[in-house]
């Protein structure tokens, strides 16, 4: 469903969007660094473009006219092309955060909701209390499926767009997230859930308030998403819903990769995936360092 071929096709589509016809009033912020490169594309099309077999809608007009029947059973992703300005964020040692632009096109006027979820991880939430004067963890609940990062973006507040039950089903909004508590203690679960959401929000990992999706000419939409420096790494998934009259009329999803790069990332990966070798190498290096230090002592 999310094949590499489609991503390439979407990239081609993105380039196509910037061909003349796009209003000049585009927010310069989201053109950002890539602006010059994209303009160059507009003048000379990228050489690999003709090589894409299914580049049909991409090379066509910016707004594909296919499958326009309102509320129809639009196959997922076909009637709602979406893409990221950059779908690989590299977290290096000097990483201070990054921004990407999510963009896409609607086949007919509609509202847009984008849900971005980080990788699901096991999270232990712990509560401390005073035990003989000392603050100690006394209670904990583990959640199996808490997204490491979660944020929504929409054209209007989601409460105006979708009824509560639909929001709950689609997990639109922090309050609808299903964390999957491991131990069945419903009376305590809500308290710990709330605490986790609050802590995540404090760390900027569940940004509060829906980011505004901007729609141009009723067709093109885009939203700038920025990630803090402590963004968890992994495979992120964005699901975009086109909503009309409280009903989802189209949906599409694509992935965003946030990866660690550099020497530190290599060490981290080795420590976690090849931990025996990592430990042995750490010991051998320490033995060598101790020997070298002794040599230095003796000479001086």
């Amino acid at each position: 469903m999310r094949s590499a071929g489609r991503l390439v096709a979407l990239a081609g589509f993105a380039a196509g969007m910037l061909v003349p016809g796009l209003p000049q009033s585009v927010d310069p912020g989201w053109l950002g660094v890539g602006a010059t490169a994209k303009r160059a594309w507009a003048v000379t099309p990228p050489p690999r473009k003709p090589a894409i077999p299914d580049a049909g809608p991409s090379s066509a007009a910016p707004v594909p006219e296919v499958k326009a029947e309102p509320g129809g059973n639009v196959p997922k992703g076909v009637g709602l092309p979406i893409g990221f300005s950059n779908n690989l964020i590299q977290v290096t040692s000097g990483f201070t955060g990054a921004g990407v632009v999510l963009f896409g096109a609607l086949d007919a006027p509609a509202d847009v909701i984008a849900v971005l979820r980080g990788p699901e991880v096991v999270v232990n939430v712990r509560r401390r209390a005073e035990v003989l004067g000392v603050w100690a963890n006394v209670e904990s609940i583990s959640f199996d499926r808490a997204p490491a990062y979660y944020r929504i973006a929409s054209t209007r507040p989601v409460e105006e767009l979708l009824p509560a039950d639909a929001r709950k089903t689609l997990q639109v909004g922090v309050d609808t997230l299903r964390f999957n508590a491991r131990d069945g203690r419903p009376e305590r679960e809500a308290l710990f859930r709330e605490a986790l959401v609050r802590l995540k929000q404090e760390e900027g990992l569940y940004p509060q308030g829906a980011q505004r999706v901007v729609v141009q000419n009723d067709r093109l939409f885009q939203v700038a998403l920025d990630f803090p420096s402590n963004v968890p790494v992994g495979v992120y998934q964005v699901v975009v819903y086109a909503v009309r009259d409280g009903v989802v009329v189209a949906a599409a999803s694509t992935a965003l990769f946030i990866e660690k790069r550099g020497f530190g990332a290599t060490l981290f990966r080795m420590a976690h995936e090849d931990s025996v070798a990592y430990g042995l190498i750490a010991v051998v290096l320490a033995l060598a360092a101790g020997w070298a230090a002794d040599r230095m002592f003796r000479r001086s």
């Binding site: 401390r128 963890n137 420590a271 750490a282 010991v283 033995l287 101790g290």
Partner: protein
């Protein structure tokens, strides 16, 4: 915000950026103290790492890795002077490896229960309090002793229950005929400490070897360093495998600072007056202990916290 003069370096396992000079400085300061006093310094370095925000599991495990290197450089000098009793050392290593395995396992259990930070802090408060207190009393006594008449030293126990234990072995180098269970038990306890606190345990092992085993002081330092190498190496590998908490970059920085600091410390130690300095170190140890203690009793900003991983 970047501070001028600071060089931020990323600790890949701790997943945090710290000032490289701060770590080198900490390593050098503690190395200097260990050079002056002939103590390991691990018991000061770990709390200082906690104070700058390094998570305690990572501070402890990386510290064990660093100790491998500092013990090697220490033991080589002792080896050349023939001050290592390999026989007693081997018995202590056997106990130490068992202690290390048990300690790292316990560490993992406590971590998954969310109690490891508390246990590490409590252990440090206890040990720093005892060591600092004993050092202060001893150094004050030494200062007073020089003013008054020299006191008669209490006679060592000639016969203790320890000498009745089975499995007696002859240790030629140290001229001892004692039960192998005693050095093995000392090693086991040191292994536990190395795993949970990230210390070499010389501050406990050396008195134990002198007073419990009756080893000659000449071979005590070399033999304890010899044992620490194997115990900390075991702890490093086990921590890396079980908890993935060994930060090689952190260990390397501490070591680089520590080596240089120890060199200056050893030279300075020969010229400085012992008792006053010892009293000063005792005060420092007690201050670190007090800070840990205050942190234990201080109400946290948020009673809730979270961490990742299977429970």
């Amino acid at each position: 915000m970047p501070v001028y003069g600071a060089m931020q370096i990323y600790l890949p396992i701790a997943e945090m950026s710290v000032d490289a000079f701060l770590l080198l400085g900490l390593g050098a300061t503690v190395g200097f103290l260990s050079g002056v006093f002939g103590v390991g310094g691990g018991f000061l370095l770990t709390p200082l790492l906690l104070f700058i925000g390094v998570p305690s599991p990572i501070a402890v495990a990386s510290q064990a890795n660093q100790l491998v290197a500092s013990s090697v450089s220490g033991v080589l000098a002792q080896w050349r002077r023939g001050n290592v009793d390999h026989q007693i050392g081997a018995v202590m290593i056997a106990g130490g490896v068992v202690g290390a395995v048990a300690g790292v396992w316990l560490f993992g259990v406590l971590r998954s229960l969310g109690q490891i930070d508390l246990v590490i802090s409590l252990c440090y408060v206890l040990f720093l309090g005892v060591i600092g207190g004993m050092m202060l009393v001893e150094s004050l006594r030494a200062i007073l002793k020089r003013r008054r008449n020299p006191l008669q030293r209490a006679k060592l126990h000639q016969h203790m229950w320890i000498h009745g234990l089975p499995l007696k072995m002859r240790f030629r180098k140290s001229k001892l005929y004692i039960s192998a269970l005693v050095p093995a038990a000392i090693g086991l306890f040191i292994g536990l400490l190395a795993a949970i606190m990230g210390v070499g345990g010389g501050f406990l092992m050396i008195p134990a070897m002198i007073y419990l085993l009756g080893m000659p002081t000449q071979t005590v330092v070399g033999t304890s360093l010899f044992q620490i190498i194997f115990v900390t190496a075991t702890v490093t590998v086990l921590q890396a495998v079980q908890n993935q908490t060994v930060d090689g970059v952190l260990a390397a920085l501490l070591l680089a600072g520590g080596v240089v600091g120890a060199q200056f410390g050893a030279r300075a130690g020969q010229r400085l007056r012992g008792e006053q300095l010892r009293a000063l170190l005792a005060v420092l140890v007690l201050a670190v202990c007090a800070k840990l203690l205050i942190d234990l009793f201080a109400p946290p900003p948020d009673v809730f916290s979270f961490d990742y991983g299977a429970r």
